[in-house]
């Protein structure tokens, strides 16, 4: 309890006015325990005679607090300078700690204490446990402690030490026992007569292990849904078991006085997540935080979630941060009084602008603090920054940011800058956020229902996760989902969150296959259909009926609003509805492919032609590249979602309502057959008609439902190219390049490509690429990429840094995506893709450039997991 008290005291101190900043200098007699603990003083070797354990404990405690409260450390330094008090210094403590180790008495306490030292994390949690314990059990002591603070600092520290020692001892045997039993369980057989809970725990550990060295793709395809479900439940149970250790680690996170969520508490959690590598623990941390927010103020959750995923709204609204380095450096310059040159130098050394900002901020404290930042203020400011346009926008942005930076303490500056850069880089995938959200919401329901068991069962959590995930695929808008979940309950989300025209849903994706026989295997006993796979851009066309006004929108595969890009589509869409149905169609959502079209010869043009269209402010009169829409699915008609209907029913509706207009709007060419020769013939004719290959889809029954965002096994794609090689082309991010020689002088002659690791958010190098380019393309790429050059590889680039040969001549921002074909995959020590799995990276053999993927963002690139999957499938065949 006394810790809390001192913390509060410092907090107040921080917010004091300038006047008291001055007078504060005279109050040196008020010594703070934290100050004492954080001040190293090697000359002093006399330490109290209490046992080793307590010393170790105190040492960790002080370390920890320094970490937590860097800012306070600075502010208290002033106190130290005139401090006549003899501090207890960690240095000598750690000396004792070392002797403890040497003694090797094997006693439980010693063993425990080393364990304590091993991880800062655990010690943190223990301190917190201690705190809460002290709160509940030792009320009398608490009062005593608080009094002691005011009496004299001497006593204060003494009591503090005793207190923590006692509690630490109290806590340990129990903790240790649990840890030991868990360890034992992992090694032992399952038939031990242990409690069920722990059994599951082990089972799930085994399960995840199995997952890591996963079965090849073919198995994956055949694996039944239910087994996946089982895994999820097990994972949820494991998650629940983590909570045994961590639920007690509560920090006072919110500020009830003005009903705000301090930005600090969010940043502290970011820091914790950044230090944590276990995905499950990260989810746990997040979901607990979300739950706390829900308990505190449900309305704030949406803002917190947006800060966590570093977005400013739903994707389809298209509001983005991602500010340039130069601008951010300017703001750091202004808020810390350092020169831009020095900041750039630091950036070179450290590699992360966020950390540079933190460092700059910490060494130059302000005279007095502006109001501390809270989540809402930060979010609104970020929004303002992203929204500012026009002549003076640069300066406005800089002012906004500088103002916030000035108010930043400790790690706030780091994460604020990273948010502004557009990437938090704490290893928190959006998927994990969604899962955490589900857990928090479902637990919150239990809590607010006043149920006795405050912990949701694993089944319930998994169910909630499914509901949220599904809802999100249909309506990718966190606000809607959170609001509706709170209003109606997570499990009823599907009744209240439905896809609606105007809100793009995530498109369904197809799995690659290599041969027709593979398709026949997969679709045994199913009715299926084949369609041309058009080589264009996915386009989701929405016809919206809004209070008597009709609107048409076109969304990309990433749910970006492309309406501006396709004014020609927008103008002609009404003409595609059958004349006799015109009054009957108020709204619809169509899944289509937009393809470049040669009107003179009535044929499809390659994707490259489409990508030469202007992207913004397209004027209908200036359009040179005509587009034909090939519709293949109808997802919503007159506000009625159709995605749970079978493909056959959806197709019938398309034919009933829509009217093909040659060269403008056509239905995807299809054939319903199960005959291998027919399919082969159809594939050949698709290639002849300038298509990429075929899409093969389940036609009837439950499996033919439209599954938003899923790369489903109910949709398979068969490309001509797949028949050789690994089965699919890869979409890889360009992270570096080599200067060209000879004919390619003055351009880039080769490129370094990387896959995206969705777990860690890193870009992992996978191959060099130098073939398949036309001279024109090389010139175009040079123009495009030379603007993206960065001096240093990003900290989230994973490459063989010890090997000079693995480094390209220039590094790029991860923005450009190439589609690449490869003959074969191999393992190579100089590349890093998937090296978590194999120790070596997966590399492409004879890679060949196919085209630029303008429609894909770098995070939509082929993931490292997919590469691993491809590699395993390949090796299982050969």
């Amino acid at each position: 309890m006394s810790i809390k008290k001192t913390q509060k005291k410092q907090h107040n101190f921080r917010q004091q006015s300038l006047a008291s900043f001055f007078s504060g200098a005279k109050q040196n007699d008020k010594v703070d325990i934290k100050t004492l603990l954080s001040k190293p003083n090697p000359s002093n070797t006399s330490v109290s005679d209490s046992n080793d354990l307590s010393n170790v404990k105190i040492h960790k405690l002080s370390d920890n607090m320094i970490d937590n409260e860097q800012k306070e450390k600075i502010l208290t330094k002033k106190d130290q300078s005139d401090n006549h008090f003899e501090p207890i210094e960690p240095q000598s403590l750690s000396k004792r700690k070392r002797t403890t180790k040497k003694d090797d008495t094997n006693s439980e306490t010693v063993e425990k204490s080393t364990e304590l030292l091993q991880s800062k994390r655990s010690s943190k949690s223990k301190i917190k446990t201690k705190k809460s314990k002290a709160a509940s059990n030792k009320k009398s002591k608490k009062v005593e402690n608080e009094d002691a603070i005011d009496i004299s600092s001497d006593n204060e520290s003494a009591i503090e030490i005793n207190d923590s020692t006692e509690d630490a001892i109290d806590e340990k045997p129990a903790q240790k026992k649990r840890k030991l039993t868990r360890k034992k369980l992992v090694n032992a057989n399952l038939d031990d007569s242990e409690s069920d809970n722990e059994k599951i725990n082990v089972a799930s550990i085994n399960e995840t292990n199995a997952d890591d060295t996963d079965p090849p793709e073919d198995d994956e395809m055949l694996r039944h849904n239910s087994s996946i479900h089982e895994n999820e439940i097990k994972e949820a149970e494991e998650l629940a078991s983590i909570s045994l250790e961590e639920t007690k680690t509560k920090i006072p996170r919110f500020n009830p006085e003005d009903n705000s969520i301090p930005y600090k508490s969010i940043c502290d959690l970011f820091q914790e997540i950044e230090n944590e590598s276990s995905r499950l623990k990260i989810i746990k941390l997040c979901s607990e935080f979300f739950l706390d927010v829900l308990k505190f103020d449900p309305k704030s959750l949406i803002i917190v979630v947006y800060l966590f995923i570093n977005r400013l709204g739903p994707d389809y609204e298209g509001l983005e941060l991602g500010l340039g380095e130069t601008l951010l450096i300017k703001t750091i310059t202004q808020s810390s009084g350092r020169s831009a040159a020095n900041i750039k130098k630091d950036l070179k050394d450290i590699g992360d602008l966020g950390e540079v900002a933190q460092k700059s901020r910490v060494t130059q404290p302000a005279m007095f603090k502006p109001k501390t930042l809270d989540a809402l203020t930060v979010f609104n400011n970020l929004k303002n920054i992203a929204n500012s346009k026009g002549s003076n926008s640069q300066q406005k942005k800089i002012n906004h940011i500088t103002k916030m930076l000035t108010a930043c303490e400790g790690n706030e500056a780091k994460f604020l800058i990273r948010s502004l850069e557009g990437k938090l880089r704490i290893g928190l995938a959006e998927k994990s956020v969604l899962v955490s959200l589900a857990q928090a919401l479902v637990t919150f329901e239990l809590v607010s229902d006043g149920k006795k068991s405050k912990k949701a069962s694993a089944e319930l959590i998994v169910k909630a996760e499914d509901k949220i995930r599904e809802a999100f695929c249909q309506v990718p808008n966190y606000k809607t989902i959170i609001d509706k979940s709170i209003e109606y309950g997570v499990l009823k989300l599907d009744e209240h969150v439905r896809l609606s025209p105007g809100v793009p849903l995530k498109p369904m994706l197809a799995k690659p296959t290599k041969s027709i026989s593979e398709i026949l295997d997969r679709f045994q006993n199913e009715v299926f259909t084949c369609e041309y796979k058009y080589d264009g851009e996915r386009a989701q066309i929405h016809l919206i009926h809004d209070n008597g006004e009709e609107k048409i929108k076109v969304f990309s595969r990433n749910s970006e609003d492309m309406s501006q890009r396709y004014p020609d589509i927008i103008d002609s869409i009404r003409g595609f509805i059958k004349k006799n149905k015109i009054g009957m169609v108020k709204s619809l959502v169509l899944d289509c492919e937009a393809v470049a079209w040669d009107r003179d010869e009535s044929k499809i043009l390659p994707f490259q032609v489409l990508s030469t269209r202007k992207r913004k402010d397209v004027n209908k009169e200036d359009i040179k590249v005509q587009v034909c829409i090939f519709a293949f699915d109808l997802l919503c008609l007159n506000d009625e979602p159709l995605i749970t209907k079978s493909l056959k029913e959806r197709r019938d509706l398309i034919e009933e309502y829509l009217n093909p207009v040659p060269g403008k709007f056509q239905l995807a060419t299809k054939i319903d057959t199960a005959n291998i020769d027919d399919i082969q013939g159809f594939l050949d004719s698709s290639i002849k008609d300038s298509c990429e290959g075929l899409m093969i889809k389940v036609l009837e029954g439950k499996e033919s439902q439209y599954e938003p965002s899923k790369r489903s096994r109910n949709w398979l794609k068969l490309k001509k190219d797949y028949l050789k090689g690994i089965g699919d082309s890869l979409d890889l991010v360009v992270v570096g390049a080599y200067y060209g020689k000879g004919k390619r002088t003055g351009k880039y002659g080769g490129f370094l490509l990387a896959s995206y690791n969705q777990q860690s958010g890193d870009y992992e190098t996978t191959c060099k690429l130098g073939t398949g380019f036309s001279d024109e393309m090389l010139l175009q790429l040079y123009e495009k990429l030379s603007k993206l050059v960065i001096a240093q590889p990003r900290s989230y680039y994973s490459y063989d840094s010890g090997n000079a040969a693995a480094e390209p001549d220039v590094w790029f921002e991860p923005e450009v995506v190439f589609e690449v074909l490869t003959a074969d995959l191999s393992l190579s020590p100089i590349y890093k893709a998937g090296c978590d799995t194999f120790g070596k990276g997966i590399s492409l053999r004879f890679p060949r450039f196919i085209k630029l993927r303008d429609d894909k963002g770098s995070e939509d690139a082929t993931s490292s997991d997919q590469l691993v999957e491809f590699y395993e499938r390949q090796s299982s065949i050969s």
């Binding site: 006015s17 900043f21 200098a25 005139d82 009084g337 005279m367 500088t402 103002k403 000035t406």
Partner: protein, 257 residues
């Protein structure tokens, strides 16, 4: 109603020029005692505190407290329009939305009048208590300016070490190090050249040179600068006016340990 007449426009010009790079927006608070300004820079590291006492003016009248929210950049532009030797009169209503500046040429009858629109500026006024500092030095302001400018070519931080009989300014940078040592001295003929050190405790403080560079813009206001420093507290840099002062409070830097 405010009416304040400067014998020479150059004084206000110098004052505004010396703070306009530190702060952009600030409130001129006018009372019967004179005009005060208090403002912090954007990074909240530097605090500017200005008092132009009523004795500075050849004529001064202010019946009621008036706050003029001024954008210093625009203010400076207007003041530059007047000649240095002109009379300058500031005129404002009781609750003004603009302030009027009248320049009168002493040699001809030319009168120029400008008005500047005022702004609502949010600014809490802080009472700054006097306190005892570990050491107080007084030195020619021009010398201080030169030292700071020279050392700023090397580093972004200026370290000031004060002992009983010396003042040492130091800068350490990538390209090299530099230091300047001054000893207390008394110059009877030119008292403004004197250097004095009053010391309670030895001082070792480090400051961001960017801020110091802003501070020394006040050099033209006074022959001498008074620097009051304590360890680990904001230091005070003061240029005295004929009546009043221009003070800068600067938070020291804490280097990593």
């Amino acid at each position: 109603m405010l009416e304040g007449k400067f014998e020479e426009a150059s004084l206000l010009k110098k004052v505004v020029e010396s703070i306009k790079d530190s702060v952009q927006l600030c409130n001129f608070v006018c009372s019967e005692h004179g005009i005060t300004v208090q403002a912090v820079d954007d990074s909240r590291v530097l605090l500017v505190s200005l008092l132009i006492g009523n004795e500075v003016f050849s004529d001064y009248r202010c019946d009621r407290n008036i706050t003029l929210g001024v954008d210093l950049k625009s203010f400076a532009k207007i003041i530059r329009c007047g000649g240095n030797d002109d009379y300058l009169t500031l005129i404002a209503e009781d609750s003004p939305d603009s302030v009027t500046l009248v320049f009168e040429d002493k040699n001809s009858d030319r009168i120029s009048e400008y008005s500047l629109k005022l702004m609502e500026i949010d600014n809490e006024f802080l009472k700054i208590d006097d306190m005892d500092y570990d050491s107080v030095i007084k030195m020619p302001s021009i010398d201080f300016q030169k030292i700071c400018r020279d050392l700023s070519t090397l580093s972004e931080s200026l370290q000031i070490l004060i002992t009983k009989d010396s003042i040492k300014f130091m800068a350490e940078g990538e390209t090299g190090n530099g230091s300047v040592i001054l000893k207390p001295r008394t110059d009877i003929d030119k008292p403004e050249q004197s250097i004095t050190v009053k010391l309670n405790n030895a001082v070792n403080s480090t400051f961001g040179l960017k801020y110091i560079a802003d501070i020394v813009k006040g050099t033209s206001l006074s022959n001498q600068i008074v620097i009051k420093i304590s360890n680990r507290t904001p230091a005070l840099f003061e240029y005295k006016l004929q009546s009043g002062y221009l003070r800068f409070y600067l938070a020291p830097k804490f280097e990593d340990e």
